[in-house]
Amino acid sequence: MELFAGEYDVIVIGGGHAGCEAALASSKMGYSTAMFATNLDNIAMLACNPSIGGTSKGHLVREVDAMGGQMGLNIDDTFIQIRMLNTGKGPAVHSLRAQADKHDYHRVMKRTLEAQPGLSIFQGEIVEIREKSGRIVGVVTALGDYYSCRAVVVATGVYLKSRIIIGEYSVNSGPNGFYPANSLSDNLRDLGFIMQRFKTGTPARVDGNTIDYDKMYVQPGDEEIIPFSFLHDSLTREQIPCWLTYTTEKTHDIIRANLHRAPMYSGEIEGIGARYCPSVEDKIVRFPDKKSHQIFIEPEGKHTNEMYPQGLSTSMPIDVQREMYRSVPGLENVNIMRPAYAIEYDCIDSKELKLSLESKSIEGLFFAGQINGSSGYEEAAGQGIIAGINAVQYIRNRDPVILDRSQGYIGVLIDDLVTKGTNEPYRMMTSRAEYRLLLRQDNADMRLTRIGYDVGLVDDKRYDWFMRKCERVENEINRLKNLILSPTQEVLDYLERKGSSAIKSGISLYELLKRPEIVYKDIEYLGGKQEELLRQDTEQVEVSIKYEGYINKQLRQAQQFKKMESRKIPRDIDYANISGIRLEARQKLSSVRPESLGQASRISGVSPADISVLMVYLEKRKREI
């Protein structure tokens, strides 16, 4: 019995980090949206580590924020510790990472969703996605409700046919005891998607009262809090520390003695695990010479004693888990409250998607997050916001928003997934970004806020705030260009103190700031403090002046790159007819169906010569029409 239960523009399946961003984006853009989660208690759940950000992931959060997303605001509201990583390195790789109160994180996000006009939240399992003549028409719930809609965003995370494995024990279950979604996986198969099976895992949660912190090293947060969201220039908050300890020889012995009981080695697990988040047994097998591994003990929140021991992810049986955890200094008497586990789940082959995250075969069907083979909350959120925006753009009959590799980590992430596919859970890394110096966390707003505004996701308040920032930054750069410093005794003394060579004639503050030993604080001293400038303004000014040479170099590279990206390949091209292209390349091109010559050139197995032939073919075609 099927009941018509309602009609929405966009239906989002899943309430995780991708689902939340997608649902908020489409509803904020003015399109009625329904979000379905199998359990409303797992909305924005931090199922693994209680932290947001980190290298390149912090960049993703800033990008989501810059486009009008929620993740940055939500973590700013709920963090219990925050640190800027890599401050000893260049500005492109400074990365924010926060410890979240995972319960607050869920609660605050749920409240935000509930408060969003045009967005309805339902607890329910979607068992069928319905299409008609290749277009999305609706979804059906396990209870038989039918909802019609114009676009669907699938953001089911690790819930499709998921199975949890702890040593010899296994159970069909989603993370943390939430039940899995089995029917939708089959439905996707019926719709023609090829499913893959991936694996990930998480450490046990242990009772903080049974930890001896005296044997560990304290890891406090930063004294000066730099928030994620561009809307917050500074915040104050009492922070909670993390703790550092190490595995011992004994830990490794216990693991080695029990390897035959580890599902990864006994053949119990068939899913493909990521190199990016290995279990402790993986590390010990793959790097036998390493005598010790770091363990960070991270609090799960303010109102719980549960602690997350980062570095002790395992799928060993519970008795082995207890024994090995207790061989770590400080954990001698530890109580495991929730066991560590490995989880297997179904995901699609991301090569079946367009750069807009829409399916190549069904119009109006979008995918975001772990279902696409990625891993990580931030990667999920980055895809979620794009899928949400493009679901609306599809309904509006407008061009999708596609960020290219020189515009954002989100662009790198989606391009990698869609063009190359992945055979293990994909993690973002700064090393994946060719134009890293352009994709800094400090300039995500400069790169993306306008794009978010143009599609109607960034509201006037944020846009106005952004425009004023741009103006302040520009004025300050001009001021520094025009302010000439004379070699007075005072100036010469100051430079000497800073270990900077003396100036003979006048020099602009702009030029002076380019010296490696001079920082903006010195400029403030020499040229007067500008009271109206915010922390994020001066950061922007300093970075863009100091690294101007390298930034320009990357801009030139990016320009070259964009040229190839702008040469579009018509959708109806038939590669079988282009005889000059090698067979392997022809097959790859036919399966990926790249949208531009640039994207085509990144497909593995497509050579520069194939691209040459393709270029000539496209020109020929153009002239024939």
């Binding site: 290298t55 260049g90 890394m429 090393s431 994946r432 110096l437 000059g580 010569a609 032939v613 000539v616």
Partner: protein, 460 residues
């Protein structure tokens, strides 16, 4: 104009011609010409559109390379519809190559196969009817050069480039891992050790480029490969050809013991002749490698000469070779006709099922050698066999990659000296790796991430 890069290549067929032409096309063609060309008396004049200019080409140390004539064809009235400069120099291998290298050092990129024609088409100079031909040209040439570069992976220069790339990759992985995993207990690489390492690599690139310039690596001419099973008279053929024709270069050093390679001149055509190990099934490891090389040589050949003993019936080794050369330009010698022949031309043609030239010879008596030379000569002038540019081109491409990598590494050192952070100088490292990987189409990111995860223990 669509293309920003300026490209250059040798426009004349390789060999013993009187004149060699280096063609440069693109926005910087004129600028490059100004840098390499000197007018008589060191005076400076503007280049005039569609005029011949007399002067000399010099290298970066101001040494004269050759006396030349230079034409400048202003865009769009040129073959590619871009600014084109052609430098006419003395023929032969040395001069054109040196000039091309100089041009590349000044910023031109080596043209890909068929690229001038491709540009001509994309810039609207050639009509549609010619487009198919362009694509065929590009793809045919490419198939071949892809095969050759793949084979050259075992060649000494690419091997060395491979080693350099591997070292740079390891260095970059070390830098990158400390960026992406700042909290792992991995020490950051020390600036001075990076500086030393890069300095060493720059020195090595320099040495490689010098050897390349001395011409030890560049070999040229039509590649003729002699094959056959053991004891059919392959070496006698080589000796006979060598006796008849003055060798230009003998015994290239560094070639493998089992492959003998010589340059000879057959009636004015430069021929690079290769004698291969006899092909037969063998358990002997060294011999097996030799045989594998023989097969590879056949794949790269412009012409294969197969020697068959006419006094024996066709064996399975013969059949295997015949199978291998089925789609190639080949010439078959029925040797030992002084003995009682059991094989005739007809047998062989039937076996191959196609039209293939067959010559009867007795190499020990010297019968038929003239005929063999005639055949090579005719096939060349009928255009049936074509001198292969690609080996040279592949070598120059390697050099170009080295030059580009070197300049990126010099930028890197400069960056270190101005105290740029490691993640920023790493941009130059990526550039150098990109340059070195461009030959074989290796991409930095995937290799880098593999390297990071194979060398360091990471992850939560």
């Amino acid at each position: 104009m669509i293309f920003e890069e300026t490209i250059a290549a040798i426009a004349t067929p390789p060999g013993q011609g009187g004149i060699g032409i280096v063609r440069i096309s693109g926005p910087e063609a004129l600028e490059i010409a100004r840098e390499v060309f000197v007018f008589p008396g060191n005076r400076t004049y503007p280049f005039k559109d569609r005029y011949l200019h007399y002067g000399k080409v010099r290298d970066s140390d101001n040494r004269i390379i050759d006396e030349v004539l230079l034409t400048y064809m202003k865009a769009p009235r040129s073959y590619t519809a871009e600014d084109v400069v052609e430098i006419h120099c003395h023929g032969g291998i040395i001069s054109v190559n040196n000039i091309l290298q100089e041009v590349i050092k000044r910023g031109a990129r080596l043209a890909l196969p068929g690229e001038f024609t491709k540009r001509a088409f994309l810039n609207g100079r050639i009509d549609l009817a010619q487009a198919e031909a362009v694509m065929d040209l590009v793809s045919a040439k490419t198939e071949k050069s892809a095969r050759i570069s793949a084979n050259q992976i075992v060649g000494s220069l690419s091997e060395k480039i491979g080693t350099i790339r591997e070292r740079l990759l390891a260095l970059m992985a070390h830098i990158e891992v400390t960026i992406d995993y700042p909290e792992e207990d991995i020490d950051e690489p020390m600036i001075f050790s990076i500086r030393d390492g890069i300095g060493e690599i720059i020195g090595e690139i320099e040495r490689l480029l010098r050897t390349a310039e001395e011409g030890k690596i560049i070999r040229q001419g039509i590649k003729v490969v002699i094959v056959g099973k053991t004891n059919v008279g392959k070496s006698s053929l080589l000796n006979a050809l060598l006796r008849e024709n003055r060798a230009i270069v003998t015994d290239i050093p560094g070639t493998t013991r089992d492959i003998i390679e010589d340059f000879i001149n057959i009636r004015g055509i430069a021929v690079r002749i290769v004698d291969t190990a006899g092909i037969r099934e063998t358990p002997d490891q060294i011999e097996r490698i030799g045989i594998q090389r023989s097969r590879q040589n056949m794949d790269e050949a412009d012409l294969v000469i197969m020697v068959i003993d006419s006094s024996e019936p066709l064996g399975c080794e013969d059949m295997e070779i015949l199978e291998h050369i089925r789609d190639k330009k080949a010439l078959i010698l029925l040797n030992k006709i002084d003995k009682t022949p059991v094989l005739t031309r007809k047998d062989v043609v039937e076996e191959l099922g196609g039209d293939i030239p067959v010559v009867n010879t007795s190499l020990t008596l010297g019968t038929g050698i003239d005929k063999v030379e005639d055949m090579i000569y005719t096939m060349f002038f009928k255009g049936e066999i074509e001198a292969d540019h690609d080996v040279t081109v592949t070598n120059i491409r390697h050099q170009e990659a080295l030059i580009r990598a070197q300049s990126q590494l010099q930028d890197l050192i400069e960056g270190l000296d101005t105290q740029m952070p490691l993640d920023i100088v790493s941009i130059d490292l990526r550039g150098a790796l990109d340059a070195l990987g461009s030959i074989t189409g290796e991409t930095v990111t995937d290799d880098l991430i593999d390297k990071i995860f194979s060398e360091f223990c990471l992850g939560k």
